[in-house]
């Protein structure tokens, strides 16, 4: 057999990226052309219009902050109007502008560059590094993303690969990759947890490993908790002290901010080894009017740094806890805890993990390289039929459809092993409804608009019938490539419509809410169980009973303060209860029935007493 084309694994990180490959059955990191294993995920355009990537871009960041883009991963696949982007805009020295489809772009010179292009520049650099090292063309790769990336962010990462001339075989979750690399070649059997605290994100995964099979049990995390948040705490402190001392807000000075950022990151890294460090930034700020420049000199102890970031460390442990609980895994069941990501070098993070799990985390993995090694292993597993490695991955977020009332009906719950498919029956939600709109949502919220809209389509030509009579079968499918497809079928006519979810909507919650409201008439309705129907009937009759009592109660007690108050409350309850009757929330319905019943008992009691007296 001819030698197969090499397939690389790429860890496209927030701050640094790494490329790796499996050769003769062993994964190893490919150093870049300057001999480093880590390539900074930084892209810059010089004043001469030259594009720089990696170390070269990083080196000139201080003198060219406005045209040096870092942390692109925090923005990729997001909408310009989203909270996350708004927050990022405050702390980034480069300028972010809104693209045509409310996507995020970076102003570089006179061009507004998409984040996909920025990431593509990094990926292309890594591809060239790999080609230089292997002496062959490379056109296929497995690229990792944080487990918590939604479909839009994954698609955008795939697009970045395509722009860079790489066919992305698979998007792989970072902690899964880490576990693959960790478990590879070891005879580990049992459950292991991977705690991956990188530059921008925290990912936690639990895997069950035996004989080369890696079964992901659960995965979760926080896309906005990482090393940069720790840096920002130092920056905030420095900025505040500087403002107090000199009355200058450094956050408005792009160049100063970039230098502060570098210094904060360096200080943070040093404090993993040392107990105290100095931050010296000479000529940090030159006041207008030619007065002499101000220097920044500060010292930071490890204890103070830990104090500044205590809540961040605590949050990491909380997230671990949440993931374990969701997976119904007790900490005692874990065989190993693997720490991944540069931030796990911080002693306070290690302490928190140790305290929480009551044991030492596993050593012996290189936290910054392990993810790329895992990506290379998965690439090899896909291409080599003889590979011993098999990964059973899960869908990291729930998938559902928007139903009447603005709710999200989940069809595939998070942490379901893929490939998978689910079919569920729905109704029309309105009399004479001839079309339904299927809105595909990704996320965990019960409220539709708080999830991500992945795509939408219309099934039309339904029979004219009263609400609830037309049955629609909705099928969700995630295939082994991780591609989501959704179809809807009118059971009666066999009419079918489907979409393959490819591009992301990525709308803000408000936008989605507006869309949902506009579509309110054509949504699906979950099948109403007989229980809900019974409760609804009970509610209607209870409301009618109370209403019937009101005139007599008013006649007898309407003149008293108590009576007026009680009547007002009763009327409120009836109005709200009747409004709630529309929902199919059983608990809510039961609640209103209870309240109506209490009011009825109260009124009957009042009437009996007063009636008897008269």
């Amino acid at each position: 057999m001819a030698e197969q084309e090499p397939v690389i694994g790429i860890d496209l990180g927030t701050t640094n990226s790494v490329v790796a490959i499996v050769q003769s059955g062993q994964p190893h990191v490919i150093p870049n052309r300057t001999g480093q294993n880590l390539t900074p995920s930084i892209v810059a355009v010089t004043s001469a219009g030259k594009r720089l990537v990696g170390q070269l871009a990083k080196r000139q960041a201080i003198t060219n902050p406005e045209h040096t883009v870092y942390a692109a991963k925090r923005l990729i696949g997001r909408k310009f109007g989203s909270d996350q982007v708004r927050r990022a805009r405050e702390s980034l020295p480069y300028q972010i502008v809104c693209g045509e489809h409310d996507d995020v772009r970076v102003q570089m010179g006179d061009k507004a560059v998409s984040l996909q292009e920025i990431s593509a520049a990094v990926l292309r650099e890594l591809k060239l590094d790999a080609e230089a090292a292997l002496g062959r063309t490379v056109s296929k790769a497995v690229v990792t993303v944080p487990a918590y990336f939604n479909d839009g962010q994954r698609q955008a990462t795939k697009d970045a690969g395509r722009i860079a001339g790489l066919d992305v075989l698979r998007i792989l979750n970072e902690p899964t990759a880490a576990a693959l690399a960790y478990g590879f070649g070891k005879q580990v059997t049992g459950k292991i947890a991977v705690f991956d605290l990188g530059g921008g994100t925290l990912d936690v995964s639990v895997l069950e490993v035996a004989k080369g099979v890696f079964d992901v049990v659960a995965t979760g995390g926080d896309t906005y908790l990482g090393g940069e948040d720790f840096d920002n705490r130092i920056i905030e402190m420095l900025v505040m002290n500087f403002a107090k001392e000199h009355g200058v807000d450094l956050r408005k000075e792009r160049m100063a901010l970039q230098r502060l950022k570098d210094a904060a990151e360096r200080a943070k890294i040093e404090l993993s080894e040392l107990t105290e460090t100095n931050i010296n930034l000479p000529f940090l700020y030159t006041p207008p009017g030619g007065t002499s420049a101000i220097h920044l000199q500060a010292s930071l102890t490890r204890a103070r740094f830990e104090e500044l970031t205590q809540d961040l460390v605590e949050r990491t442990v909380e997230i671990v806890d949440k993931v374990l609980t969701e997976a119904d895994v007790h900490p005692d069941e874990l065989r190993e805890i693997v720490l991944v990501g540069g931030m796990t070098r911080m002693p306070a993070v290690q302490r928190a993990v140790r305290r929480h799990f009551q044991r030492d985390p596993s050593k012996g993995v290189h936290p910054e390289e392990v993810v790329a090694l895992g990506a290379a292993l998965q690439a090899d597993a896909l291409m080599q039929p003889s590979s011993q490695v098999l990964l059973l991955d899960v869908t990291p977020q729930s998938l559902g459809v928007a139903i009447a009332g603005g709710y999200n009906r989940v069809l595939i719950t998070k942490n379901t092993t893929v490939p998978t498919s689910v079919t569920e029956l729905f109704h029309t939600s309105r009399d004479g409804q001839t079309t339904v709109k299927i809105m595909v949502l990704q996320g965990e919220s019960e409220l539709a608009h708080q999830n991500e809209l992945l795509g939408e389509f219309i099934l039309s030509g339904l029979r004219l019938a009263p609400r609830g009579e037309v049955e629609i079968e909705v099928n969700f499918e995630i295939n082994s490539e991780g591609i989501v497809s959704v179809s809807a079928r009118d059971k009666e006519t066999g009419l079918e419509q489907s979409i393959t979810v490819t591009a992301s909507g990525g709308l803000t919650p408000d936008e989605l809410k507006n869309i949902l409201e506009a579509q309110a008439d054509s949504l699906l309705e979950a099948r109403i169980s007989s229980e809900v129907q019974q409760k609804r009937n009970a509610l209607t009759s209870a409301a009618a009973e109370v209403s019937a009592l009101i005139p007599r109660v008013r006649q007898l007690t309407g003149s008293s303060e108590f009576g007026r108050e009680a009547l007002r409350r009763a009327e409120e309850v009836i109005t709200s209860a009747r409004a709630a009757a529309e929902s199919d929330d059983l608990a809510g319905l039961a609640d209103w029935v209870d309240q109506l019943e209490r009011t009825r008992v109260l009124f009957v009691g009042v009437l009996e007493r007063l009636g008897a007296r008269q």
Binding site: V213, K322, L390, S421, E444, D585
Partner: protein, 314 residues
Amino acid sequence: MPSGTDRTQQDPLTEAVDLEPDRKREILAREALLGRDDWTVLGLKPGANAEAVKLAYFEASRVFHPDRYYGKNLGSFRARLERIFQRLSEAHETLTEALRRAPPPPAAGSTHAVTRPGQTGSTAPVDPRAEERRARLARHPYLARNARASALVEEAQRQMKSAPQKALHLLGQAKTLGGHSPKDRAAMEAEAKQQVAKGRADDEMKAGNDAAEVGDSETAARAYARASELDPQRADAAYEAARWLLRASHPLAEARKFAQQAVTLRVDHLQSQLLLAEICLRMGMGSVARRHLEAALKLDPKNAKAKTLLRQVR
């Protein structure tokens, strides 16, 4: 499942795909089993243990997971593989969950329950001369300390049940003397500490009950939580702690910890299951809530609250 069936009018064995005939036959044979029970789907005999279920699932995944045929032309076999794999993972999950809830009784020969070493005070008949010899030796200056330490340990043993605090004190004295059986002493010390903690847990429980009676949920919650921490084996303490922490609007994660503990200690306690489910539900952990609600409904199939909550999950 859409498609698949209409395309396979022809014999799938003759379909031109990148699969060996043997592999095709293997796939078709497993596909024919998909309607059967979970054990059969995984190729197991009913009653296998969790470990066997996992291994069977992993072995089958090696054959039937679509990734094993990445980049190949699979024709109708892609859908077949995806169908088989989905059924395999469902069977694995169902059986694993069921075995977790009710592990099969261990076979007679394979118990690895550790028999705890007998806790001193053995009642074996004592040779009188050996007793005398020991007493004489004990008077030897080098050994006197040992004898004194042993006496203290024995006294501690007697006090253990009635006055664990005193026992702990005696054991501490023995420790400073450097007794001859540090192992026993350490075990007893641990036991004494546990007894003391249990006593204090009782007190905290009483304090909790008192506070609960007057509706002081904050104090009650704290007392119950301390009781549960002092005596982690006390199911009622864990349950009450969770219940009152919830009522006193403490962070849900805290209440959940105790509720989880309560459920772990008493799997068959309906209220604990319900409480844990309710907390999980509020924390947005629907799948966990569902599991516990299903457990609750197993205990009491008619329970209205469990049904209501379960509906919320869905």
